[in-house]
């Protein structure tokens, strides 16, 4: 067993002023695991883009000097400490090159010393796992969780693929948040396939919504406004449903490249009064939104886990969700009880028809209390915290 329960978490994503919703799942994992540890320090390495490449030497020199005054450890969730490390980057580096920059900047932040913790847990393979391995003590145990939906891009880069193989070989344990992540990795690195396990994201199963849902009229979308999330199809599907029931409302939470296009389309459809765009919001506010809407619609094309759908069920809010990879596993056994699952297609009618099917069997055809109980056993802070502690501190693994 390790001498102490000091843990360092390395992550390229964590909620901050620029990206209030970014890395909420990492913060949830910290909240789930910090109780029961002596000390948890989160190192958030955040890329700071520099447009003018010629200025990089001056910026790096200034960065080194500034760190002495600007770098600090601040209190975070569940008694953990957060150290924010900006990483100046120019151009379009490969994932491996980025990982090298992250590792160098973390080393700077640590004053050239290794991470003092006995256990280092990294999120994502390269910008977390490699950074951790490069900065951990030789006797430290490095664990990695992979979440990425863009692994195909990572593995398509020769230097990144090679670095990924190195991370898999060197780390103490490696877990994916679902099969959509594990399978491409096992295929790319068959010799390491047995090492790749599964560990879920942690979800706050705190208080449920004050009032149970009585009718499915206030829809909520929560996620990035990008093609992969299927939010464009959602707007079209909502428009056809709204034609049949003018009392329907839709709140779209998030930001992304489709933001302006979606706003324009909503205006063109004459729905500006009933569709509300909120932009990005902090994780706590997102949970409040889930608890004040009637239905979470999650039309993603590819999802590795589907955190928001579990958050919705934890709050007692039904879901309409695509079979986009992760959600089938995440909801296994409670699909019908939690809401309605629909196929991934290019046709908005798939969403609208799914909605009407769900509405037809609501509320008697759902069992949200059972769905909540089953999922709490898998994904609650207590369940996921215990899984991590077993991984980090058990005698067998030491």
């Amino acid at each position: 067993m390790p001498a102490s329960r000091d843990v360092a978490i390395i992550t390229p994503w964590y909620p901050n002023s620029q990206s209030p919703f970014g890395g909420a799942f990492v913060q949830a994992m910290v909240a789930a695991t910090a109780p029961g540890c002596d000390r948890v320090t989160v190192f958030h390495c955040d890329p700071w883009k520099l447009r003018d490449e010629s200025r990089l030497p001056a910026v790096e020199k200034a960065h080194k000097r500034l760190m002495k005054r600007a770098l600090r450890s601040v209190p975070d969730v569940a008694g953990a400490e957060l150290v924010y490390v900006p990483v100046p980057l120019t151009g379009r580096p490969s994932f491996a090159e980025r990982a090298h920059s992250y590792a160098e900047n973390l080393r700077l932040a640590l004053g050239g010393q290794p991470i003092p913790a006995d256990v280092v847990h990294a999120h994502v393979g390269l910008r977390g796992g490699f950074v951790a391995l490069d900065n951990a003590r030789p006797d430290a145990r490095v664990h990695v969780t992979e979440h990425s939906t863009f692994l195909d891009q990572v593995l398509a880069q020769p230097d990144s693929r090679e670095m990924y193989g190195e991370v898999l070989r060197r780390c103490t344990s490696f877990n994916a948040v679902g099969d959509p992540v594990r399978e491409p990795l096992a295929e790319a690195f068959p010799e390491q396939a047995a090492k790749i396990g599964l560990i879920p994201n942690a979800i706050d199963f705190g208080p449920k919504r004050a009032e149970p849902v009585r009718e499915l009229r206030r829809w909520l979308y929560l996620g990035s406004l990008i093609e992969r999330k299927g939010v464009g199809l959602l707007v079209e599907a909502f428009a056809t449903c709204h034609d049949k029931d003018p009392d329907l409302r839709l709140t779209i939470v998030g930001e992304g490249v489709l933001g302006a296009e979606l706003t324009a389309r909503v205006a063109e459809l004459g729905l500006s009064d009933v569709v509300d765009f909120t932009g990005s919001i902090p994780p706590a506010e997102a949970l409040r939104m889930i608890a004040t809407h009637d239905l979470l619609v999650h039309p993603s094309r590819l999802e590795t886990f589907g955190m928001t759908i579990v958050e919705a069920i934890a709050a007692g809010t039904p879901i309409l969700v695509t079979r986009s990879g992760g959600p089938q596993e995440t909801l296994a056994g409670v699909e019908e009880a939690a809401g309605e699952m629909i196929d991934v297609t290019d046709d908005p009618a798939t969403i609208s028809e799914g909605y009407w099917r769900l509405r037809d069997r609501f509320p008697a055809g759902l069992d949200l209390a059972r769905a909540r109980e089953v999922l709490a056993g898998r994904y609650s802070f207590e369940a996921v915290g215990a899984r991590h502690h077993e991984l980090w501190f058990s005698r067998e693994r030491a």
Binding site: N16, S17, W48, D52, V59, H63, R69, A70, P88
Partner: protein, 169 residues
């Protein structure tokens, strides 16, 4: 609280605009240094946030540079040159005493005088006129160093951080 946001890179606009708004909401004074105002058209600043364009600003006034040269840089050079061999220990002691006295002079005499005289006069930014400097993006890092270089190593103000959320006080 007087907070200076350095944001000449203009690519972390949301963080800077939101945090500047928070300063004003809480009754403080927020000044944001940008490269071009038009880059921020899609990220409007809250009423009360002062926006200045970097190209029209000088980061340290000549008197402040002179004060830094006379109080610290020249004496340090002299002590380094003289303090060799048997003179090393006594000169080192003298150097430490000098630094302590120079910091007192800087804080007690020079800075109040400069602040009174310039009062952040047009075209000059003084790091010492702010309680906090937020380094908003990578391109602003060299400016942040220039603004704080005149401060002695243990000077508390201004605090420098990457985000208001990182201030513990």
């Amino acid at each position: 609280m007087r907070v200076l946001f350095l944001a000449v890179g203009g690519n972390r606009r949301r963080a800077v605009a939101d945090e500047a708004a928070r300063v004003v909401t809480e009754g403080g004074r927020a000044t944001v240094v940008v490269a071009k105002e038009r880059s921020w058209l899609d990220t409007p600043f809250a009423p009360g946030v002062e926006v200045v364009v970097r190209s029209g600003m000088e980061l340290r006034s000549p008197p402040r540079s002179m004060e830094w040269l006379l109080l610290f840089r020249l004496p340090r050079k002299v002590y380094r040159t003289v303090g060799r061999g048997p003179l090393r220990a006594p000169v080192s002691l003298m150097g430490r005493l000098h630094e302590r006295a120079a910091r007192r002079v800087q804080r007690g005499v020079v800075l109040p005088l400069l602040r009174r005289r310039h009062k952040d006069g047009p075209g000059v930014l003084h790091g010492s006129s702010y309680d906090v400097i937020i380094v908003g993006d990578a391109a602003s890092m060299p400016d942040a160093v220039k603004l704080t270089a005149g401060a002695s190593a243990d000077e508390v103000r201004p605090e420098v951080a990457y985000s208001l959320a990182h201030l513990t006080g």
